[in-house]
Amino acid sequence: MKYWRRPLDKNKIKTPKGHIYVIPDRCKGCGFCIEFCPKGVLEESKEINRKGYHLPKIADGKEDDCMNCDFCMLICPEFAIYTEEGE
């Protein structure tokens, strides 16, 4: 992110880091989490679950981009993905 001036409290404010978890057998492959992740962290993987749906995976170069906003958890209709505060 580019600032037009350096915020005074930039050293104190830390961007939260998130850790993503998925419950593979619940996923129905609707793609909501992939499409609507505000940071574009997820993409469709080649891996399939027991029902034959493609699971999400972390896109290349986005490993540290999750900010723990929880939007994937809210929009997932299957209770199959969530994030937690990571280190």
């Binding site: 419950i23 609707c30 793609g31 995976k57 209770f79 993905i81």
Partner: protein
């Protein structure tokens, strides 16, 4: 986060439990809703909302009628009742009057609440019974095969309107506000955070509250109307939805085609004495209640 090894790049850590699992009935999952249906998102928002509000889960009651949305009462692990078709609101009214300590929510579909249960909705809102009504509007009768319902927009195709519907649909927020609901809002299933905040507000508010949730129905409505799968319907909402809290009632009409916007927002937030408050007040004034 990413396990090292060939073919495993970017793999997400897998687990067996979800943080909202204690609000769900595990033995009932996975639910029956189609991939791409918005009902699951609406249920997640509701689960999150009942967990966040200051009302213990023991005091929460969830009621529903018949239909795809009617299944919600069977999936959420609070006291719940799956009533006969259209009769969720009379049941809720009775429950609230018999035990005013309960926080009663009716979660049902547009066909159940406004076709067969239409009259009950009118009278519960007129009396201002302290219940929360959440209506998931997917513009058709999804469970029985995508027939035309009271909210099907003009010209929309369903399995019983092959040439497009020629009936005017209900404008649900207008209807609810006109008959005296104290809180009226409308969101799509894409507006998860707004929806969750609205649900929290409705659960805590005294009086008859109404939330309309516009939800994709890939099987019953998306396919015949060329709106595509659930994901494409959500993209359509992202493109066309406008948050406008002071929208005029005419703007709230839904067309679901062309360039017509989908106006969402919190439209009404007022106070009015509830049924039980009025009863108590009048009986006290006549000396019939201590």
């Amino acid at each position: 986060m990413s396990a090292k090894g060939a073919g495993n790049e970017g793999k997400i850590e897998t687990v067996e439990e979800h943080p909202l699992d204690h609000i769900l009935r595990q033995d009932r999952l996975p639910h029956i809703w189609c991939p791409g249906c918005g009902l699951g998102s609406a249920m997640t928002c509701f689960a999150q909302a009942i967990e966040r509000v200051d009302i213990p889960l023991k005091k929460q009651v969830l009621l529903s009628g018949i239909g795809c949305t009617g299944r919600i009462a069977g999936y959420v692990n609070v006291d719940s009742y799956h009533t006969t078709h259209g009769r969720a609101i009379p049941f809720a009214t009775g429950l609230k009057i018999a035990n005013p300590e309960l926080c009663v929510t009716v979660f049902s579909g547009d066909g159940d609440l406004f076709a067969i249960g239409g009259n009950h909705f009118l009278h519960a809102a007129r009396r201002n019974v302290d219940i929360n009504v959440i209506c998931v509007n997917n513009f058709n009768y999804g469970m029985t095969g995508g027939q035309q319902g009271p909210t099907t927009p003009v010209e929309a195709k369903t399995s019983t309107t092959r040439y497009g519907s020629f009936e005017h649909p209900f404008n649900l927020p207008y209807l609810a506000a006109a008959i005296g609901a104290v809180y009226v809002s409308r969101w799509t299933t894409l507006h998860c955070r707004h929806l969750e905040k609205s649900m929290e507000k409705a659960l805590q508010k005294k009086g008859f509250t109404f939330i309309e949730i516009i939800s994709p129905c890939p099987t019953g409505f998306g396919r015949p109307n060329k709106l595509g799968e659930g994901l494409e319907e959500l993209r359509y909402y992202r493109e066309k939805s406008v948050i406008k809290n002071d929208a005029s009632w005419d703007e709230l009409e839904l067309h679901m085609r062309g360039e017509e916007p989908v106006v969402v927002g919190d439209f009404v937030d007022t106070e009015r004495p509830t049924y039980l408050e009025l009863e108590e007040q009048m009986l006290r004034a006549k000396g019939l209640m201590k």
